[in-house]
């Protein structure tokens, strides 16, 4: 046992207490909350078999309460999780998190404070520069220090897709706002689709690009920093070690300047490398290491190693456990930034590693020698008993993860029995000592511990041989390994029984599959010690935090009795079995081109409007600001089409890098069941989350109203705006309020029919936010309609010039609706096709157009009356006579009936019965030629004409 001396800096003393608080109880969160803050120093030490000769100079001082509380789930992470829960609407998850997490989301605040004294100050700008920032979660009292040069995750618009950046500068401006200057890294998803092709290789999800695009603001608010993360620079040809594939760390191979990808310049590369290395040297005073930690360090290693070893057997299981572990260890996220400071002292470094909650590939970063040394220490210090395994198993059982147990047991056996695992072990070997995660889900932890223990021994054996062991040579030491396992386990057992074990190994590892190749990778970046914090899981996985039983939860099979809608149902219409027929004749071709759905090459006659909208959006895009524009016009005047065309052009421009890229989303008031669903749709289109309307409103407000660095501008088209009207108008208010927010970067194009909609239906506060950027689409004139048809037809010679003119004039006189115009032309083409079935090569002439227009615009009433039966016609006459007699345009059936009978007598016809008359009346009423009262009044039912008397007379006269 080595005596570990390390300089304890101010703030270090919070470590012990935190370590101690981390108990095994599944309810550790609760427990933590209740713990008294200041602890006597004696409480800090383990009373275990291992003595802890650690110098602890500050132990007598009363520690500030804030330091004493152990890390707990950082609120930001919790918030994310909360969202996920809701988004999945998964009751069981909500249950899991409701006690702690949801509260956290609402209550806990994260406090950002500077670390150290200002290093530099600028009098003129009144800025103070710092070299680190402390992030403290108020509720959990957990804090972390992020230094200059660290890589960080920055909140993005999508909670599950934070941005990656490197911290370049930290300063406080005159207004006491904390700022950070960062170097961005772009994830592949942030790079435009069309540019992704330029890479010509497959990009792993872990790869990021050194971002040289100038468009983004590199000055961000410190409050948006979530956590630190690890970014490894790699040569272009290098592969990310496969064993790190599952890890949430990043690698950077190329830079991206908005136009093309370039390999990292040697300068950048070395800078990045340095950044990683530097962290070793930076003293991290906040992570003080307690003796107890040191004791348990060996144990932790074992756990780590063990878990990784088990993975070899059942990779999927491992991944799952990893997931669950990472997810459940809520506190981990913001916590991971502890930087190793123990250069002289291996254990110290170990501690640091322990702090990181991730199953990240720290191992890579570590110097091999240190590891071996550590392992040796561990071996010396521990007595191992095989019984521990059983005990562990029990523990896991309590935690209700039976599948894991069996699996772990299997693995144990295999570790003991077979030499094949050696390679795996060797891979894990280097990693394990450092993977000590102080916080994690209890359940997972227990499992890991047991497994870790097994593997660790193996590692130790290997370690004792030589750092440069080849796979084969490692294999030879299997026997020794297995014997050691027992010892290791016993140690664990002992420690646990004393309840002094605080660090929970959260996880896991995909280390198991480490190969020689990976090894080489590891060795090439040995100094990196940054804790690669586990990146937030992908949206999908985070949505199902399988806390209880990782093996079971992901697939939540519906109960047999209660069928539920398949969650993953893909909306799809079956494909047709026969291919669609291609147009065979000129007329058919013309008909297809004239269909409203056909997207024309250009939008003629809306050039001015197009330019106005384009300029508006373009200027906002370039400025990176937000704004609203209201577009009005009667239906069929090309509002939506023009806006879409503008968006298409803008997208083309961004592809050509003339404009910063933006995100385009569209909602349509008519396609919503309720105005509040607008929130849901916008959020889903923006981030893919599915939540309830109220929650979506909150999230969106959050998104648009808080400073979001590096967020693309959003262009939102709101079609049929008037349908978003509610009594309180809160939907409209929010929509138009967001763009006015400083950081929203939201451009809204609102489309509706009426020009005075803002004045008519909106409250003042809404219409004032909408602003005065308005545009009105006038109905098309006949010339414009003519041009539209001609441009659609392009070169297809199917219409006579005069015919086109006739349609345009007719439609322009009626409504100016381009849809109508196209429909008439299409119908005319059909009529032409019909009539010319024999004689081919007919083109659409005036007569066809006239026929089509007649069909579409002729009033049906006159035809309907002419085709009515004789008594129906007489009934009309009787109505007219009665109206004339009374002088009022309303009569009862009885009155009309008498007139009817009189008329029948005059014509010498058999007069109908009252029942007949009522039936006639009902028939005409159903066609809405007449308007009737309810039929319960029988003879006293009142009758009115639904058409003018003149029309009726005209229709009856010709007879």
């Amino acid at each position: 046992m080595r005596v570990l001396h390390r300089p304890v800096r101010h703030g270090d003393r919070h470590r012990p207490s935190s370590a101690r608080r981390q108990t095994h109880s599944p309810d550790f969160r609760e427990e933590r909350r209740q713990l008294p803050l200041p602890l006597p120093p004696s409480a800090i030490f383990f009373s275990g078999s291992v003595s802890l000769p650690v110098s602890f100079p500050d132990s007598n001082m009363a520690a500030p309460p804030s330091y004493l509380l152990p890390p707990s789930p950082p609120c930001a992470r919790a918030r994310r999780r909360g969202r996920d829960c809701r988004s999945k609407n998964c009751s069981f998850m909500c249950f899991c998190f409701s006690s702690g997490i949801m509260d956290t989301r609402q209550q806990s605040k994260i406090i950002y404070s500077w670390y150290g004294k200002p290093t530099n100050s600028d009098r003129k700008l009144r800025t103070l520069q710092y070299k680190g920032i402390l992030i403290k979660s108020e509720r959990s009292r957990k804090e972390r220090c992020i230094q200059l040069g660290d890589f960080v995750l920055v909140e993005g618009e999508n909670a599950d897709q934070p941005f990656v950046a490197q911290l370049l500068d930290l300063y406080e401006d005159g207004a006491e706002q904390k700022h950070a200057v960062v170097q961005w890294f772009s994830h592949i998803s942030e790079i435009p689709k069309n540019k992704q092709k330029l890479l010509k290789r497959r990009i792993s999800s872990q790869e990021v690009f050194f971002d040289k695009v100038s468009g983004y603001d590199t000055d961000i608010a410190v409050e948006t920093i979530i956590d630190s993360v690890l970014v490894i620079p790699l040569r272009l040809k290098d592969e990310l070690p496969t064993r790190l594939k599952k890890e949430k760390i990043f690698c950077v191979k190329q830079s991206w300047d908005g136009k093309c990808f370039k390999a990292l310049s040697p300068h950048t590369f070395s800078k990045l490398n340095e950044a990683n290395r530097k962290e070793d040297g930076i003293p991290n005073s906040f992570n003080s290491f307690v003796p107890s930690d040191i004791i348990s360090s060996a144990k932790k290693e074992t756990k780590k190693a063990g878990s990784s070893a088990t993975k070899t057997k059942n990779v999927e299981m491992e991944i799952e456990s990893k997931h669950s572990a990472s997810k459940s260890s809520l506190s981990k996220k913001r916590h991971s930034l502890r930087v190793a400071n123990g250069i002289k002292n291996p254990t110290a470094r170990k501690k640091l590693e322990l702090n990181s909650p991730t199953r990240s590939p720290k191992s890579k970063l570590l110097e091999q020698e240190d590891i071996w040394a550590l392992l040796d220490d561990d071996c010396d210090s521990q007595l191992l008993k095989p019984t521990a395994i059983k005990r562990k198993v029990k523990f896991t059982e309590v935690l209700s993860s039976p599948p894991k147990i069996t699996c772990a047991n299997d693995k144990l056996k295999s570790v003991f029995g077979t030499a094949e695992d050696q390679e795996v072990l060797s891979g894990t070997l280097r990693l394990s000592p450092y993977r000590k995660l102080e916080d994690s889900n209890e359940k997972v932890r227990s499992l890991n511990m047991e497994v870790d223990a097994i593997v660790l021994t193996g590692h130790k054996e290997l370690g004792s041989q030589s750092p440069a062991v080849t796979p084969r040579s490692r294999r030879t030491c299997t026997q020794e390994t297995s014997t050691r396992i027992a010892e290791q386990i016993s140690l664990l057992n002992m420690l646990e029984s004393k309840e002094e074990e605080d660090f929970l190994s959260s996880s896991d590892g995909s280390y198991s599959s480490s190969s020689e190749e990976e090894d080489s990778d590891v060795s090439c970046t040995p100094e990196k010690k940054t804790k690669p914090s586990r990146m937030f899981s992908t949206p999908k996985s985070s949505r199902k935090p399988s806390v209880h039983t990782p093996a079971k939860t992901p697939k939540k099979t519906p109960l047999p009795g209660t069928p539920r809608t398949p969650r993953n149902a893909t909306p799809e219409i079956p494909r047709r079995s026969h291919a669609a027929q291609k147009p065979t004749s000129v007329l058919e071709e013309a008909r297809l081109r004239l269909h409203v759905s056909a997207v024309p090459e250009s939008l003629p006659c809306r050039e001015e409007e197009f330019q106005d909208i384009y300029n508006f959006v373009e200027s906002k895009l370039i400025d990176g600001t937000g704004g609203c524009m209201y577009i009005s016009g009667v239906p069929g005047t090309g509002k939506t089409a023009t806006v879409h065309e503008v968006i298409r052009c803008l997208q083309r421009a961004t592809e050509d890098d003339d404009l910063p890229s933006f995100q385009f989303i569209e909602i349509n008031g008519m396609k919503l069941t309720d105005p509040h669903q607008a929130y849901v749709q916008i959020l889903e289109l923006l981030t893919g989350q599915k939540v309830t309307a109220t929650h979506a409103a909150v999230l969106l407000a959050n998104l648009f109203c808080t400073p979001g660095p590096k967020r693309k501008t959003t262009v939102l088209v709101v079609d049929e705006l008037d349908l978003l009207w509610t009594r309180k108008q809160n939907v409209m208010y929010n929509l138009f309020d967001w763009p006015t927010q400083k950081h929203s970067k939201l451009i809204i194009l609102a489309i509706a029919n009426t020009m005075d909609l803002p004045e008519r239906i909106m409250m003042n506060r809404v219409s004032s936010r909408l602003g005065l950027t308005r545009m009105s689409f006038q109905p098309y004139t006949y010339k414009q309609l003519q041009q539209i048809i001609s441009s659609r037809l392009n070169s297809v010679k199917a219409f006579e010039e005069d015919a086109i003119q006739l349609v345009s004039r007719k439609v322009a006189a009626l409504s100016g609706d381009a849809r109508r115009c196209l429909d008439i032309c299409r119908r005319a083409a059909e009529i032409c096709e019909f009539s010319s079935q024999k004689s081919t090569d007919e083109i659409v002439r005036m007569t066809h157009i006239t026929q089509a227009i007649d069909e579409m615009f002729s009033s049906p009433y006159i035809q309907a009356i002419r085709n009515a039966s004789l008594h129906e016609q007489i009934f009309f006459k009787a109505i007219l006579a009665e109206f004339r007699r009374v002088g009022v345009e309303e009569a009862t059936v009885q009155q009309v009936y008498r007139q009817h009978i009189a008329l029948c007598r005059m014509e010498g016809m058999q007069s109908p019965t009252v029942s007949d008359i009522l039936a006639i009346c009902a028939r005409l009423g159903a066609c809405r030629l007449l308007l009737l009262e309810s039929s319960s009044k029988y003879l006293h039912m009142r009758v009115r004409l639904n058409i003018s008397q003149d029309d009726v007379m005209y229709a009856l006269k010709d007879d």
Partner: protein, 427 residues
Amino acid sequence: MAVTQICMTMVQKMLRERLCHHRAMGKLFGIDQQYKHLLELLKQTTVCGESNSALIIGPRGSGKTALLNRVLKDLREMKQVKENLLEVHLNGLLQTNDKVALKEITRQLHLENVVGDKVFGSFAENLAFLLEALRKGNRTSSCPVLFVLDEFDLFVHHKNQTLLYNLFDISQSAQTPVTVIGLTCRQDILELLEKRVKSRFSHRRIYLMNSFAFKQYIRIFKEQLSLPAEFPDKAFAQKWNSNIQLLTEDKTVQDILQNLFHYSKDLRSLNFLLMLAVSNVTVRHPLITASDLQEASKQYRMDSKANIVHGLSVLEICLIIAMKHLNDVYEGEPFNFQMVYNEFQKFIQRKAHCMYNFEKPVVMKAFEHLLQLELVKPIERPSVRSQREYLLMELLLDNNQIMDALQAYPNCPTDVKQWAASSLSWL
């Protein structure tokens, strides 16, 4: 005898099916133009994947559904179309709101969110799902969907016309090819559409107007009754058909048909009349006769209220006559029981020798019976405070009906008849 029995059963079955069951098998009369138009329209959708929308408008009983069914039947027989068309049938009377309609659409399309035969999830989810499904498709590769909206006018009253907007919008944009066919009897249907919905509707309207003359009507009559050539018993079929031929030339039959034609041109009423006549055919009475048709016509066009009057007692008839006189005197103003009773008393006093003077409560009872038969109707709802005698009423019978009924009333006292003819007869 047994052979005729079988023949009769077959005739009954065949003709009744033809007359009642207008599913696809019914022949179409006088709507060849519309048939062609609709068939062409649907062919374009299925073969070329062209989206469309159309309304079939016509009065009730004019054959809208029959036309559509016929077109669909013919369409399905085409090789190109067979497996290429998804049909969704909605009825405004069944799908009373968009939520229900959406579920039904989803169910009929067998989208993936259908569990068993049920659709769960919220309205918003279902709408989003369906729209997403339809948006994903394109003209050339997706299976065309035919939406048939029966009682189209009822869909117009759904909130915001969301369903119609979306269906028409899809039909006018480059998505899954859809054709929306609406069936309605309302001539003013286009005025009911919201302006945005209207703009998206293609304005194709197919009118069914019953625009045939009486000659065609006779021909339809003949064809509806004729037995087909494939009828097993050739001899009987020939006999039957020649009888039908004779009937069409018969004057009485022509008069009956003329009357019906003048009354209503729709074929449903003709079918109903023929149905009544065909039902009379038995083994003993194997052929339809003119009198059968006459009987059926009488039955069909009977006045319902006058029929009720036939079953009234003399006292009740007297009360009705009293009311009639009151109506004449006060020009249709409402009356109450007391007025009717007084009027009745006047008559009784004049003709005391032939009419028994009923007590007032008895008269009241008779009056209430009329009320129950709905021959008399209170103008306002009876309230606790107002006495029954003074409740204002109006008569739901026309003078003509009363006189006609009295003519047919068995054993009606002459005095009553006279009184009915003129209230002044006592002078």
